[in-house]
Amino acid sequence: MSKLLNVSSSPHVRSDVITSNLMGDVIIAMIPTAVFGVWQFGVHAALVLIMTVLSCVVSEYLFERLLNKPVTVGDLSAVVTGLILGLNMPPEIPVWIPCLGGVFAIVVVKQLYGGLGQNFMNPALAARCFLLISFAQKMSSFSLDGVSGATPLALLKSGETVDVAAMFVGRIPGTIGEVSTLALLVGAAYLLYKKVISIRIPGTYILTVAVFAFIFGKHDINYVLAQICGGGLIFGAFFMATDYVTSPITPMGQIVFGVLLGLLTGLFRIFGGSAEGVSYAIILGNLFVPLIEKYTLPVAFGKEGKKA
């Protein structure tokens, strides 16, 4: 009888899905592209991924221990951040650079704002941008099979043509995790199937980039496809723009957010100095999230056409 004294208000049942399950699904979804990256770029890429994840997890653990906060590495969010950051690194980067990025992502972007759920920018992307600015040369030298070369989007920007089929498969220079559209789509399909993410953000994002590229870039299907497959757009759209914490919670807001990211990315790529722009578009887009949410609150059931 005594056990019954632990009364509580309904509901008395809960779904089995908890935060660490969701994070685990995101990790699983990134495995195809990680495996492809390591297969294509070699053992150093694996080292980069492992060290970046470790850096994030250890940073989170130490920070929380030092501040006497509950240790939350078990929710796997630091692993996700580390993996995304690692997959955003050039395969030949000296390992200390992504490790520094991991510390920045977890301590500065995430924990200083209050930990999981409180950061307003995607920690991995903010760290990547921090590294891009700080170590521009090392962060943007790419090679494939020992031959250094420009990324497809850089070639495209300088007016050359690219092989879209190679881009789709991933036989191109780039960061560890962004190159293979195919591997990324496999992971994305898993996330959609498991309903971890909805198609709203990635769908509108990619569509907007395509339309933007068609109108302001070249009226050429090959060019548009290269814009979609290149520059980490697929990776960004499915794995980074959909980050729960830094994207709108309202369905309509997610569509607005996707379109905004598409416009920013198109703007940066076609009118900006660099050939790429996904990372900057997403972290800038993150800043608009509170505003977007405020104006896209759903209309309550039965209150359509009435003032609240």
Partner: protein, 439 residues
């Protein structure tokens, strides 16, 4: 095109297989009977009897305390032991009439007499429903005669019988639908007599194919009645979601079903109306499911109102494992009990006995803004934002974010991967807002 349903909602473990094949058994009370004077929404009933009075089964022992109120009838014959405060399922101590059962079940005169509703005026039918002590038996407990007397009866075009029974574990409505479907349909026909322009719709979730089939068979020659299969999804049987699924019309928290031409009654209520009007039998019994993984034998009982919950547990063989949670009602909206000396009331539907407490073993973690609460909310509000206002106890912000549109269905709490007590906090807030408005 799929089955009629609504946007949002969840698919919790149904648990219906535990008790759905148990026929309804009549369970006679052993001990004293307890009749709380407030088992409905509205003013408490006023006692008509005093200590040591003799009462008969079916005798009115308390009269309606106002327009929105309902009388209380004794379900047995015996002696009034007194009027004292007793605990009800909601946890509060409520003035209750205690009757010592003489075991004779002597009934008042005329009980069970056949009556032809065709010979009755509309007002006579409504009066019969009121005098029978009928309230919304699905759980809300709103006095039925009030529901049947809308301001503009001509505008009612749908009488919806709620057979969704979307709450997990519950099978009492299901058993009534397959064992006594003619009573449910009879009740619906009586209601339709009050609303000449209306058609009757019986909404049943498609996880109850036998009920759908039986009802469809019985109404095939009834031009004014149809069966509407509904998609199995919680909370399909909520009043607002049900009306939307059946008619496509939407009501918000400040509207009544009658505002969109609808009357909604539970299957149990419809059967009670039939018994009251056509059989001169007031509401004296209630079908209660005794279920869960902690109970020895799952059962569906027809019990006299006022019977102690403990007697139902004992009759079902007691607990096979120590329960961590015994719920009056289902797991989504029911009340957790800390004491089993609680009487079966008009709104009782189930005793769900769970061997482990899924909520207590889960510590809330940080909200990751995953948006699942927004997706499942049938009221189309944003639980994640409401929760922030609840933590601050900011009533104005809560109301502004449409917090009063929350129907407390529990979907957001169920789905939340961070296990936040969302619905739980909204209940507190809604009470606080309602209290502030009354001032």
């Amino acid at each position: 095109m799929g089955l009629a349903t609504f946007v949002g909602g969840i698919h919790p473990y149904e648990g219906k297989e535990l008790s759905e094949n148990q026929p309804i058994e009549v369970l006679m009370p052993k001990g004293e009977l307890v009749f709380p004077l407030s088992q409905h929404i509205g003013a408490p009933a006023k006692a008509l009897v005093k200590k040591d009075d003799q009462v008969l089964a079916g005798q009115k022992i308390a009269e309606a305390g106002g327009f929105v109120s309902s009388p209380v009838l004794s379900s047995v014959s015996g002696t009034v032991k007194g009027i004292e405060k007793r605990r009800t399922a909601a946890g509060a101590m409520v003035d209750s009439i205690i009757v010592e059962n003489d075991g004779q079940y002597t009934e008042i005169e005329g009980l069970g007499a056949d009556r032809d509703p065709e010979t009755m005026t509309k007002q006579e039918i409504i009066d019969a429903v009121r005098e029978a002590g009928i309230v919304g038996l699905g759980g809300a407990g709103f006095p039925t005669q009030v529901k049947l007397s809308p301001k503009e009866p001509d505008k009612i075009d749908h009488v919806i019988i709620n057979g969704a029974e979307c709450e997990p574990y519950l099978t009492s409505d299901y058993r009534r639908m397959i064992e006594e479907p003619e009573k449910v349909i009879g009740g619906l026909k009586v209601i339709l007599m009050l609303f000449d322009g209306a058609k009757g719709v019986i909404g049943i979730e498609d996880n109850k194919p036998e009920a759908i089939q039986k009802m469809t068979e019985l109404v095939k020659d009834e031009p004014r009645i149809e069966v509407c299969p509904l998609k199995t999804k919680y909370p399909q049987g909520g009043e607002r979601t049900l009306i939307y699924a059946v008619t496509g019309r939407k009501i918000n928290s400040s509207m009544l079903p009658a505002d969109v031409g609808c009357i909604v009654d539970n299957v149990d209520t419809a059967a009670a109306i039939y018994m009251a009007v056509c059989k001169s039998t007031p509401l004296m019994t209630k079908t209660v499911t005794v279920t869960g993984d902690a109970i020895a034998n799952t059962k569906n009982y027809s019990v006299r109102l006022g019977t102690c919950y403990q007697e139902l547990i004992d009759a079902a063989g007691g607990f096979k494992t120590e329960p961590e949670k015994v719920i009056s009602g289902g797991p989504m909206m029911g009340q957790a009990l800390f004491d089993l000396t609680i009487p079966v009331a008009k709104t009782s539907s189930s005793l769900t006995c769970l061997s482990h407490d899924a909520v207590a073993e889960m510590e809330p973690t940080a909200c990751i803004r995953c948006g699942r609460c927004v997706q499942v909310c049938p009221g189309r509000v944003v639980p994640q934002k409401l929760y922030k206002t609840a933590l601050r106890h900011d009533l104005d912000a809560f109301v502004k974010l449409n917090g009063m549109e929350c129907c407390e269905c529990g979907c957001c709490s169920y789905i939340c991967p961070a296990r936040k007590p969302l619905t739980q906090s909204f209940k507190e807030m809604r009470k606080a807002v309602a209290a502030a408005r009354r001032k």
